[in-house]
Symmetry: C2
Subunit: 247 residues, 2 copies
């Protein structure tokens, strides 16, 4: 386990070998053992292998080719639909049409996803999380026929790796851990915490390619711009409301 966790790499190139049924089943069982709020299990996992559906998901996920390459796409959804139906069939009136319930269900889905990711990696499979899930949740809702009270929150691409990338850099632990209470960052702290990232060879290469002065500018001007964030933010909020979680 420890080794699996410490050796995690995001894989972006996959062989087209299928995943054995029993292996996929073990991954899904691992997902199901994660903690869930009140043991309500208010999430669902959609397993997509069909080429035509994957092509539609590929569109939703900004045409990232690994969605087509990898044999299995797992879409993890916050899901109060099943629980609400159960309540109504059991003379109970559910009160889960609110933001807190959406967020509770999203937590369930995300903890299950990380169990699935680690179970897959331990068996020699590679994974990649697709952040585009929340960008185009509305499209994914249509593609996967998600009913009211169900929203996709993350996606795992799973398959046999066709690349062996090195370990990704991380901030020093003092950068993300606080003792007892939050200790806010002074300018010198920020300089120290980000020094390695700011000065890495990879960063120098990116700055040249993008003709920009700092790595932070690559994030704010290229990768995650204010304009895009605000556009996709509104779309996600509308999706959450439309699926039945009032705000």
């Amino acid at each position: 386990m420890k080794e699996t966790i410490l050796n995690h790499r995001t894989i972006r190139k996959y062989k087209d070998d299928p995943i054995e049924k029993s292996l996929l089943s073990a991954i899904l069982t691992a997902a199901s053992r994660a903690s869930t709020t009140g043991n309500m299990q208010v999430y669902s996992i959609i397993v997509t292998t069909n080429k035509a559906i994957k092509e539609k998901l590929w569109e939703a996920h900004f045409r990232q080719n690994m969605v087509l390459q990898a044999p299995v796409i797992l879409t993890f959804c916050a899901d109060f639909n099943r629980f609400n139906k159960w309540c109504r069939q059991r003379k109970a009136e559910p009160g889960y049409d609110n933001f807190l319930s959406f967020f509770t269900a999203a937590i369930d889905a995300l903890l299950a996803a990380q169990n699935a990711a680690l179970a897959a990696e331990e068996q020699g499979l590679g994974i990649c999380y697709l952040g585009t899930t929340t960008y185009n949740a509305d499209m994914i809702i249509d593609i996967l026929d998600l009913p009211s009270d169900v929203i996709p929150v993350t996606t795992l691409v799973v398959g046999y790796p066709d690349e062996s990338p090195g370990l990704t850099d991380r901030l020093p632990m003092e950068g993300i851990v606080h003792q007892e209470k939050y200790r806010d960052y002074e300018p010198a702290d920020i300089d120290r915490i980000y020094a390695e990232k700011d000065n890495s060879e990879l960063t120098q290469k990116l700055l040249q390619e993008n003709n920009l002065e700092t790595l932070a500018q690559i994030f704010t001007q290229k990768r995650y711009t204010k304009k895009d964030n605000e556009f996709f933010s509104q779309k996600l909020l509308e999706g959450i409301r439309k699926q039945g979680f009032g705000m």
Copy 2:
């Protein structure tokens, strides 16, 4: 790993033995290796062991005694504060004051939390997730001095177990997994999926204790009521806005 995942139990009684520094450090390192959006690592972990601060957290977490018993409380926060400060010190104007950015940061925090949970369990420690984190995020923000752009999304209580509970029931896998697309549930599906849970000895005991007719009513009338959900939902939304993530 597989064994650790499959043997997960939520632990609600703890010995007061402290956690060795090197072990805690290994758990936090495991957390830091989880996938994060664009490798931005937009989360923080607050490690609380101080008795006085734990007593305040205990109030926020509905006075659940394990918050006092367990030696370590890990509060996982969605955190754009550090990243925004870095951007501003690097001639970049961050555009992360929106709901999508909050949710992105929450995903980072939750995947890291599940890595920490599994790393702790593999070393013989017990854990419990505290869903009360989102109920009283505003109180936790005050207690832990969380600045703007930082919101707690989940909490792990960690310590040596002082109980050995059995494995918790889960819905059959067909209840949470969908092949290719979502297949909505017919009444007969709900009956079949929930049969074991509806008819368990634990459920019969709870129904007698609560003088109610169905397990679903225990959820809707006792554990997670519409009134509570709506109250805490509004409070969470206000907290998210107040911390700087506009909606």
